[in-house]
């Protein structure tokens, strides 16, 4: 990346020692003409399409949307006051803080660790590959990843899967007591569940009939319900789907073809406290200890909660971190490759010396590798910061229309202000100038670095 500027000295001095002054000036003029011919096409394009726009944007930013009325700093004032631009500024700040650091940290970790496995090169290739594709394609890829429907978006599929593994999922969201049921809706803290009307007695089988569960929604492994036999000293019972397909079933009785509610949770509640609990077997039967004698049985609300729908990744609160995730997916490879190149240049003897001195791998990494790479890490970070300040495509594509206000960033705001139905080129130009000012320090740094190297 460094500009190895070996300033070429005076090129092609005329070989004839006795060249006349007139001849020399003609020669100089000819050479300047040649230089101009080589440079002109590039300079004309740069002047017309890069330099002139900078000046014009600055000028235009002092006028209103029609371009006729001078408004002074009015457009810049609006940047600070307009709500959607303030959101854009806030989000851009979040981007600048989160995205480059995450991508660089991951790049560093990957670069160091891939040196230790045989398939490191293949890994690097895989992680670097997203650099080759468009932000639009990456955006579409992640739009699908983040889809809210767990049957479509892999992020929510995994999330819901993990959630349901740890938190018990409810299998009977639509189950409810039928007519003349011994069950009544529970009150108070357990609203949403159902309790028995009367206390239960040990040795008297309890019936807990429910209706409203579609046959295909019954948990796998469900068997035909069985009336629980009485057991002395224990409270037994059956929780089942009190509905015979095709009709003919008796209310509040376990008929031959009715299904047990396998896995439904049953609690015995005495004076507001849960004294015992059980989970129904595949045939719907359950057994509680003698402690349940005299208690009311409760089917807690957790049995009937709607299925967990996962996280709204592209909702108003999470959309910016989600898009940043997609960005890191694209750009961690960039950091990794640059850092990997720097790592290859670190003298092996230094690392070996540290190891011989008894440093463990973490200490070698922390005390030797990272300090040696520090200048490179700064370059990578700065590069990513510039890149992130101009981020547009990813946000534009991933954030659904309804949350684009929440996901707004400066470059997106600039586009929407400048080219929408009610475009305001004055305000748009002010945002453009703001963007330019943000990258100005890097511009000056590049120029200074080059001058220093030129002077060497």
């Amino acid at each position: 990346m460094a500009a190895k500027a070996t300033t070429p000295a005076k090129a092609g001095a005329p070989s004839g020692a006795a060249a006349a002054t007139a001849g020399r000036s003609a020669e100089t003029r000819r050479r300047r003409l040649v230089a101009a011919a080589f440079l002109l096409p590039a300079l004309v394009l740069l002047g017309a399409l890069v330099v002139h726009p900078i000046g014009y944007s600055l000028y235009r930013s002092f006028f209103d949307r029609t371009g006729d009325t001078f408004v002074g700093g009015g457009n810049y004032g609006e940047i600070l006051h307009d709500d959607s631009i303030r959101t854009a500024l806030k989000n851009t700040a979040l981007w600048v803080v989160l995205a480059p650091t995450t991508a660089t940290a991951l790049g560093l970790i990957f670069a160091v660790l891939t040196e230790r496995v045989r398939w490191g090169t293949a890994f690097k290739l895989l992680v670097f590959m997203p650099m080759a594709i468009s932000m639009l394609a990456a955006g579409i890829i992640f739009r699908l990843v983040y889809d809210h429907d767990p049957d479509r978006g892999v992020a929510n599929a995994v999330w819901v899967g993990v959630h349901d593994t740890f938190a018990e999922s409810s299998a009977f969201p639509k189950a409810r007591p039928g007519r003349d049921s011994p069950l009544v809706p529970a009150a108070g803290a357990d609203a949403g569940g159902y309790t028995t009307r009367d206390p239960v007695r040990a040795g008297v089988p309890v019936l807990l009939p429910l209706v409203g569960v579609a046959p295909e929604d019954l948990p796998s492994g469900t068997r035909t319900a069985r009336a629980a036999p009485a057991e002395p000293g224990k409270v037994t019972g059956t929780a089942w789907q009190d509905f015979t397909r095709g009709g003919g079933g008796r209310t509040n009785a376990v008929d031959p073809s009715e299904s047990g509610l396998a896995g439904i949770r049953v609690e015995a509640v005495k004076d507001g406290r849960v004294v015992d609990s059980a989970t129904a077997r595949a045939d719907g039967t359950f057994t509680l200890s003698a402690k349940a004698d005299g208690a009311r049985l409760r089917l807690p609300a957790s049995n009937f909660r709607e299925a967990y729908a996962g996280v709204e990744w592209l909702g108003p609160t999470l959309v910016t971190p989600a898009v940043i995730g997609a960005y890191v997916w694209m750009w961690a490879g960039f950091a990794m490759v640059l850092i990997g190149a720097g790592l290859a240049a670190v003298p092996r003897e230094l690392l070996e010396a540290a190891r011989v001195d008894g440093a463990n791998e973490w200490q070698v990494f922390r005390r030797v590798t990272v300090p040696l790479l520090a200048p490179l890490l700064v370059v990578v970070l700065v590069t990513l910061v510039i890149n992130v300040m101009k981020i547009f495509d990813l946000v534009f594509v991933i954030a659904p229309g309804s949350v684009q206000d929440d996901a707004n960033v400066l470059a997106l705001q600039l586009y929407r202000t400048s080219f929408g139905t009610d475009a305001d080129p004055g305000l748009g130009s002010a945002i453009a100038v703001l963007l330019l000012v943000l990258v100005l320090p890097v511009m000056l740094y590049n120029i200074r670095r080059l001058r220093k190297e030129g002077a060497r």
Binding site: M1, A3, K4, A5, T7, P8, A11, R31, A35, F38, L45, L49, V50, I54, Y56, S57, R60, L113, T114, V117, T121, L125, L126, V127, M129, M131, A132, S134, A137, I140, I141, R143, L144, D151, R152, G153, V154, L338, A344, R355, N360, E361, V379, D393, G401, A411, L414, Y415, P425, S429, A432, L436, V439, V442, M443, N446, I447, L450, R451, G454
Partner: protein, 303 residues
């Protein structure tokens, strides 16, 4: 620069401290650490693979199957995979037309940047003229100018001279914004050419243009290749410039697909294969010219 090339056996084994410690516990610990590293990298690789793989598989599923469940259904029922979506898409002019538009923009924009950039790079490296160093510093300063700054002014300019919503306009815009990097890269590369080579050619009576074409360009091959690949992918993948300047009746692939994203959910059977068609060329270029791409990206980091 060639990072991957250097094989370092001692770094590969990862069992270095154990060998030193010699103890059984040390070996076990090192083995566990190496195992942890491997597990972590495998997980990371899955993490990186999954998003793109999901869209790729989706592009091979029928709309009915896509409505029925996630793309992972194909892992257990691979027979559901079908190329129908691609067939339908390729039979439709919109997407093929958009791909052609992209080619019509990316190829000239690359050639122009390489051509104009190497001419100017040579002038900055080897020709004498007043203000050379200052001009070059300005060009370097322009490296980081965001394209966003030019959107409004250039659309007004193009509107005035009839280039708005034309392929030529998009090409010129990309060329202009590719030039600072091109000039910077090539000037530095050309400056490394041994003076004697150029002197000898001049003594043989070669003019500057001939010298440029016969000596400088061939020697600049590697840098020019990096630049060309970098610029080509940059333009191919661009969406913003095309959104503003391209002919909306005949947009490049990125814009054509972007217009479909609004109905995301109902049209994955169009978006998924479309996105992959748009990625074919960049990925082929990436795999064919990895080395040049990497050095282009590294040099172009500042952009």
């Amino acid at each position: 620069m060639s990072a991957a090339a250097q094989a370092r056996p001692e770094a590969r084994t990862g069992a270095r401290p154990a060998a030193r410690a010699g103890s059984r516990a040390g070996r076990l610990a090192a083995g566990a650490a190496a195992g942890a590293v491997r597990v972590f990298l495998v997980l990371a690789a899955l993490f990186w693979l999954m998003p793109a793989l999901g869209l790729l598989i989706s592009s091979f599923l029928s709309p009915t199957d896509l409505n029925r469940g996630g793309w992972w259904q194909a892992l257990t029922a691979p027979t559901r995979l079908t190329a129908d979506n691609y067939e339908r898409l390729l039979a439709d002019d919109t997407i093929t037309g958009a791909l052609l538009s992209t080619v019509a923009i990316a190829v000239p924009a690359t050639l122009l940047v390489v051509g104009l950039g190497s001419l100017a790079g040579y002038a900055f490296a080897w020709l004498e003229f007043p203000g050379r160093d200052w001009l070059f510093l300005i060009v370097v300063g322009l490296l980081v100018v965001p394209v966003q700054v030019a959107l409004i002014p250039v659309s007004e300019l193009f509107g005035a001279i009839g280039l708005f919503e034309t392929t030529a306009g998009v090409v010129l815009f990309h060329t202009a914004f590719g030039l600072p990097f091109a000039v910077f890269l090539l000037r530095n590369f050309f400056a490394e050419i041994p003076r004697e080579l150029l002197e000898a050619a001049r003594l043989d009576g070669a003019g500057e243009l001939r010298l440029f074409a016969r000596v400088v360009l061939p020697l600049g091959g590697p840098a020019i290749a990096s630049l060309a690949i970098f610029q080509f992918l940059w333009v191919w993948n661009d969406m913003l410039v095309a959104l503003v300047f391209a002919d909306s009746a005949n947009p490049p692939i990125t814009v054509a697909l972007q217009q479909q994203v609004r109905q995301f959910g109902n049209n994955i059977d169009v978006l998924a294969p479309g996105a992959f068609l748009s990625m074919v060329v960049p990925l082929v270029v990436f795999f064919a010219f990895q080395r040049q791409f990497v050095s282009g990206v590294m040099a172009g980091a500042v952009k």
